[in-house]
Amino acid sequence: MTVEDEKVLELQHRKEKIYFGGGTKAIEKQKAMGKLTARERIIALLDKDSFHEYDIFVEHDGRDFGMQDKSLPGDGVIIGTGMICGQPVAIFAQDFTVAGGSLGFMHARKITKIMDYALNMRIPLIGINDSGGARIQEGVNALAGYGEIFFRNTLSSGVIPQISVILGPCAGGAVYSPALTDFVFVVENISKMFITGPEVIKTVLGEEISMEELGGAKVHSELTGNAHFYATSEDECFVQIRKLISMIPMNNTTKAEKIAPAMPLPEYDITKIVPSDPTVPYDVRDVIKALVDESEFLEVMEMFAANIVIGFGRIAGETVGFIANQPMVMAGVLDCDSSDKAARFIRFCDCFNIPIVTLEDLPGYLPGVDQEHAGVIRHGAKMLYAYSEATVPSITVVLRKAYGGGYIAMGSRHLRADFVFAWPLAEIAVMGPEGAANIIFKKDIVSAENPAEMRKIKIQEYKDKFANPYVAAAKGYIDSVIAPSETRMFIEHALKVSAHKNRSQPQKKHGNPPF
């Protein structure tokens, strides 16, 4: 054996030791929790044999409390680059088998190194979080590490897509990195996110709650809106991430990769989904599926504020972002949560050159003391802001109802939609017929011999005159009234002609949206 061979062999030995992470016992424990190891996760997520690891020999920086005598392989985090569907990505994965994935100075420095790399190379960043939190022994250095990560998350926001995958605990300050990123993926029984855990809550407040009930995958998918994608297994989660990466661009200067166009599946017949009676519900996702290639729709935040539907689909091979009122849930009203949900999604699409398609059918805002006191004014304003600020192609289709403030908010001409279409059964009016008749014809109704009968007559009168798309079309607020069957064709054409859209904004440092 030559000296060179020996040296290479030594390298192999050194690497293998580190590949072993926290050792057999810790790995067994990880498996017992139904979790893959950090390295297995990276391999499962990325294209085969595409992963290249960096900083493998990094040692931790703890000098107190006996840490100086301990060796932590890779300091509990793996960083590197690889491919997803042939597209480059940067990735880090915290290794729970090494000191509970705790974040120390060097651990954080590995993460910030790959974050800097992702930003400089303009490629998406994927972070797999599985950590007990700050490494207490390293004191303020651990806190500094978190701060450096949050800063880079913010710096990269709107430049490269950032994805957080919560595959274990993610507690305390650590949760703010995922919160700053574009998409958070969670897995049933595995993901746990909270600022203060069940133990602290019990000590301080005497309230008993399990980790799952406090900050499990379901809670963040349904209740808090902190998570965007929910899976029942890690494997399903990786499929979702790959799907998302394949549909979005690598950075803010490119467009999502265009693929060969395909027609929607014939079982989604767009002419048979929306009932003409505006009070009868339906699933708006069927309309989306009737519009997109292969009827494939990647829904985002499926369980949170289900009264609005957001997600990605392709039209003639090009990725578009859909925002659609969902009449099947809460009649499709706008409220605090649905406004927040839509606004952030619109801003993602705008950051990354993804055209917006809005499907509108809503009976305005949700009435209630709880909504008003929860700040529906400032939450609702986020949506107006996001639509007005967006400079990507914006296409709105009024399917049925567009009343009052809802009409303005849902990507109207006035907020600079490029194309606004309406179906013939659309009702575009300042108020719904019932409400309007009650106000405009109040005197006639009250003084009538039969008020109920008069009310009916007046509602019909209003309906005939205003509850249609032609009043708005007569003013040019609607560009075309189109048959439902023509919708895909019109959207496809609109995308084609607005492909080089260039609308300039006034010079500013940044706006001040009502966060």
Partner: protein, 107 residues
Amino acid sequence: MEMEKKTHYDTLETMHGTFQTTLTQKHLARKPWIPNNPKHIKSSIPGTIVKICVAEGQEVKAGDLLIVYRAMKMNNNIKAAFDGKIKKIDVKEGDNIPNHALMIEME
């Protein structure tokens, strides 16, 4: 294409009419609004009652210390906002109280 036929829908009323739909758990679980009663002195943060400085039936002046409760390692001094009489004390020293818990009723 037929969507799953649901036999029963709830209804939701907005200013624009009444609509058939499903309702979310969050909406169904919303709390009805109760007007604030200034004579009911409630906690504004969960904590522990450290000291009760008044007795039932006692007359108090605005600014008098009524109760001390500890939350987030801080003692909160709750003082009377107006002159009145202590009608009822609903907590005792050492009690752990949640947020919005009724502590003292005045008249």
